[in-house]
Every structure is written in C-alpha cells, then in structure tokens.
Amino acid sequence: MMARLEPRGRPPRWLSPLLTVTAVAVALVIGAIVLALVGGDPVKSYLHIVKAAFGDVGVLSDTLVKATPLILTGLACALAFRMRLWNIGAEGQFLLGAWGASFVILGLGLPEGTPAIILIPAMMLAGALAGAVWGIVPGLLRARLGVNEIITTLMLNYVALAWVQFWVFGPWSEGGFQQTATFPKEAWLPRLTDFGKEIPLFSGLTTHLGMMFALIATAIVWFAVSRTRWGYEMRLIGDNARAARYAGIDIRRYIVVVFAISGALAGLAGMSEVAGSVHRLQDRISPGYGFTAIIIAFLAHLGPWRVVVASILFGALILAGREIQPSGVPAMIQGIILFCLIVADVFTRYRLVIARRAAATT
C-alpha cells in the first residue's frame, strides 16, 4: 500500500468550507485530548467557553468587543497575505495605533472639554497613521532592499511593546501604575449601553462604535479586492510576481502601499480598543490580537467577510479563555487550529491517493 498526494485540477466549491470546518473540529478534539492529558476537564472547559461567550446577550456583546480588534487586525493580515507579504507585525502596529490615539489625549495638551466630534476623528487619524508608519518601515525595507519582512515586522512588535511600556511606566503613568489615567468621556466611542435609556435591551451592553469601523473597513476591503483594478493587481502579484511585473505593475510601490494600509488597519484596531473598550493605555493592552489575526486571516482564506466570522469565534476563545487554567490553553488551541487548517488547505490542493503498487516489475 502506498499513499501519495496528487494535485487536484479544480477543487469542488463545497470542499474548502467543509475541510475548514472539519479542521477546526479536529483541532478542538486534539486540544481536548491534550487538555485531558495535562489533567484538565475538556468537556467542562469547552462548555464553559460556549457559555461564557455566547450564553446570553451580555456575554455575546462582550464577545463582539473582543472580535472588533480581531476583525481589523485580521483584515490587516489578510490584505498583506494576499500579496504573499508576511506581515507578522499587526501586534506592533496595533500597539502603535493605541499609542497614537492616546497621544491625542495625553500628549497634545488639548483643552479640557474638547468635543468628541474633534477628539474621535483625531484619535482615529493618529492611530491609523502611527500603525501605518509601523507598517511602512518593513514595507520600504522589503521593497527597496529586499529585507525579509517576517523578521522586521516581528522585531518591530517587540520594539512597539517596549515603546508603549516606556510611556505607561514613565511619562503617562498614573500614580506609578502601569497604565495611564482614564480618558475623558469625550474620547470614548459610543457603546450600546449609552442608548440604554431609549432601548432597554441595550443597557449594560459594551459593544462599541469600533464594531462599525470594523464592518465598514471590511466592506471597503471587500470592494477593493473584488471589484477594482487594485484587487486584480494584488491577486496577480500574490500568485506570480514575475507575471505581475510582466503585466506592467509596479510591485515595489504595491508592497509599500499595502504595508501602509495593513498597518493603518491594525493601528485603527489599537485606537478602537483604547477609545472603545479600555479607555486608557496600559501595559497589557493586547492579549495577542495581532498574532491571533494571522490565524484568523488563514481560517478565513483571506476573504474579508469570512474574517468577521472567524474573528467572532476567536473573540469567544479569547474572552472565555481568560478563565481557563492553565493559562496557555487558548494559545495552544490556536496553534493546533492553525496546524489543522494548514493540513486542510493541503487537501484542497491535493487529493490523497492510496494505491496498491501495480504488478511487480521483476
């Protein structure tokens, strides 16, 4: 008996979604086994995740709060991955975005009572800009000098973390704690609960305007990649850069621009997180959104709307996972899911042929 992989011509349409769902299921089973091996109770843990993430409107809303930065960073990764640019730096771009938005509040010396209509757009701009800068640096290095973007984006994550830590431990520290003072109310993104008086159902719900940013960004990215010449050009670069050059596309410029947009999206995620959810800058502002985004982009097969769905699932995992012991479990499950997705992806491209060797040759 021999098993080998043979390339498929064109996989049927249903195959890829089916394999994706299977992969996630298999990953959860493997995760359960590992969990049981280290002495946990997998059934209880999984039930807990479902209940803590989707059990009622309140926790569902919390899940969406976690999903918001994931959608934006997931889009950032998916966009770059389409061109086979490995932007592993969404985490750092997120942190810079959060810092940039905080800078508007804490660094500009705007007078107290500056209205939201000025503050919020300024924070969005600053967040996106800071994230974009953090993306352009590796983009330029890759486009101009051929420097491997995986390494540079990763290293910039660590630099970004130290940068944020410097500000929250130092100049912006509130009373020596590792966090800034709470932002004024004008700098808070509106939440559903703010409309609790008018619509009682909303009271207590923390889902904020960042979700709208995320959905609008998703729509824009979807439109750009599927309906415009840029989308076509990106597809071309992603599949065969030499063919793209042959088609007269300036690949270097695309690399820089896509890195900038990717960084801006992740930066906006950081802004949305500080303005919509945390309302201050703090040391551990991200539980690894930028890294989870990589898995989300892959799970979504780089499709913008699928990023939204995948983000909600991972939002649930992050939300509920905080209470699961040991603390490494969610990260481990993420790793297993990614591996299972990779294997599933292999089977959309190849079919497994198990064949007995034909009549012996001698």
């Binding site: 290293m155 410097f166 990260a331 499950i333």
Partner: protein
C-alpha cells in the same frame, strides 16, 4: 564602572543560547526548509529541560529531554512542510503558537519550582590564563558554552568539507539535481529539520539549565528564537558568521542588564538605572539591532548575488510531468 571582561564573558555565555538556535536553523535552511518555529521549539526545550531537571534532580537528563522535545516539535513541521508541501511560513508560525501554548500549559506552576541544580561550570586550565581572551572565553563558563565552541567549527566543516554536507547543500540548492544523483531529498530534509529541532531544544535548555535558570513563562525565551532566525540571514547561512553574531548579541543582552546597575556614566547620572522608564529603550536595542544586521545581510546578498539556499521554502516533488 562595568567590568568589560565580565560583560564579555557573560555575553559569550548568553550568546551560546542564540548560537545553538541559529546553527540549528542554518542546518534546516541549508536543506531547503524554513522553520520559523524556533521560538516555540526553544520554549518547549526550556520548559521540558527545566521541569525534568527539577523533578529528577539531574540537569543532564533535562538537557536530553529538552533536545527531544525540540525535535518532537520540529518533526510536526517536517511532516507538514516536507510531506504535505504546505506553506512553510505559516507552518513555522503555527509551530511557534503551538510551542508557546504547550510550554505555558506544561510550565503551569513551574515558576515556583525553586532552585534546581544547574549544569557544571568549568575553568579550563592554561587556556584561561591567556591574556584578555582567557578570562572571557575559558573562565567559569558553563559546560554548554564549550559545547558551543566545538559546535561552530564542526558545523562549518560538516557543511563545507564532508560528503553529508555536500549532499545537504545540493538538496537545499537544487533538489532535483540531488535526487538525480540518488540522494534521498526527503530523508535529508527530515534529518536536518530534526537537527534544527534538537539544537533549538538545546538552546532552550541552555537558558533554563545553565545561563539563567528558572521558568518565567514565554518571557523565558523572550523573542530570542526570532533573533536567531534573523541572525541566520545576517550570517548568510554560515555557522562561523552566526557565531560572531550570536556572541555579539549575547554581549548586548548582557550589557543591557549590567548598565542598569551603574549609577553614573562619565560623571553624569545614568538614565538607564534599573526601575527607570528609560530602560525600555534599552530593551528595544537587541530587536532594533536585529533589523540592522538583517539589512546588512540582505545588502550583502544583493551585492554578491548569492544569498539564501535557492530551494529554501520550496517543497520538492519528483515525477510531476514536465519536471
């Protein structure tokens, strides 16, 4: 003031960690397989080595288990990247996620394990008496540091001057040519990915069993796996250059710690004293420096028009039509 001999000696010790990981990655990449999971493998090595040493009381058993743990993780990557022909970048990232998560799960509670017996430190007679270099290289160094000293020339000789090394280079540069000469491309790739895993596991154990014993979650490795991957580019896939880079980075890491204990520099107050927020700029240094050395490596590759092994990251398939 800082005693620079001590800083450099400690830098050599600390650089040994990066050295093992980078040389391991060089082996894997020379065979044409990019393994970005070094950070995850190191964490697994670190936690496995530490917990086994803590429970058995024997650090040597810890070292061996650590290497096996790194190899076990690398085997997953090997199957996915070599047999299943998956995108190696993503598989390597997945390995880092998995290794990090698993290490944290396994390391749960380990931080309270207390002191363990570490690997022996040795002062080499005679050699340690050499002026300047002696105290830096041969005084009170962990036994693993000396293993590092031996590994570098051995790795260089192996790759450049022996039959297995010749085969290794052929597999990474032009697997079809190697295959046509009867070299088993798949087996060679598996072997060196696993060698990479063994060495990454050893690198992890070097942290927890020799250089800075203890378990601090994913901060135990703290990005050094990624630095090792960056070093490989700077090293242009040469173990000797990797060694230079590794010891340099070791010294930087050490300097960052030591300078925080200094009160004044040239009569001015040291802004980087421990506890000051400016120390975060110090923490950025190694990562910024990686970017600099990777730029240097890339520029050199552009100028000399040689660089990464030609088949790096590309799965090998024999017998496809038109091949």
């Amino acid at each position: 003031m800082i005693d620079f001999t001590l800083v450099l000696a400690a830098g050599v010790a600390s650089g040994t960690i990066l050295l093992f990981a980078a040389v391991g990655e060089i082996f894997a990449e020379r065979a044409g397989v990019l393994n970005l999971g070094v950070e995850g493998m190191m964490l697994m090595g670190a936690v496995a080595g530490f917990s086994v040493a803590a429970s058995t009381g024997n650090p040597w058993v810890g070292v061996i288990v650590a290497m096996l743990a790194g190899a076990a993780l690398s085997l997953i990557h090997a199957v996915v990247a070599i047999h299943l022909r998956a995108e190696q970048v993503i598989s390597g990232l997945a390995l880092t996620f998995l290794g990090t998560g698993l290490a944290r799960v396994l390391g749960d509670g380990l931080s309270k394990a207390g002191a363990i017996e570490t690997l022996p430190r040795i002062t080499v007679p005679l050699l340690s008496q050499i002026p300047v270099l002696g105290p830096i290289l041969f005084r009170e160094q962990s036994i693993l540091t000396y293993v590092g000293f031996v590994l570098v020339p051995v790795a260089w000789y192996w790759i450049d001057r022996t039959r297995p090394g010749l085969n290794l280079r052929a597999v990474g540069e032009r697997p079809a040519a190697a295959d046509a000469q009867g070299i088993d491309v798949i087996r060679v790739r598996y072997a060196y990915v696993i060698v990479g895993g063994l060495l990454a596991g050893l690198a992890g154990a070097t942290i927890t069993l020799a250089i800075s014993p203890g378990w601090f979650g994913d901060q135990t490795v703290g990005g050094r796996g990624w630095i090792a991957v960056g070093l490989v580019i700077f090293a242009q896939w040469s173990p000797i250059r990797a060694a230079i880079g590794a010891y340099l980075f070791g010294a930087i890491f050490r300097f960052i710690i030591d300078i925080q204990g200094v009160k004044t520099i040239f009569g001015f107050e040291n802004p980087f004293q421990a506890g000051r927020s400016a120390t975060f700029f110090l923490e950025m240094l190694p990562y910024l420096f990686v970017i600099v050395v990777v730029i240097i490596g890339s520029r050199e590759a552009l100028r000399r028009r040689v660089g990464a092994p030609a088949a790096l990251g590309i799965p090998y398939v024999r017998g496809e039509r038109g091949a």
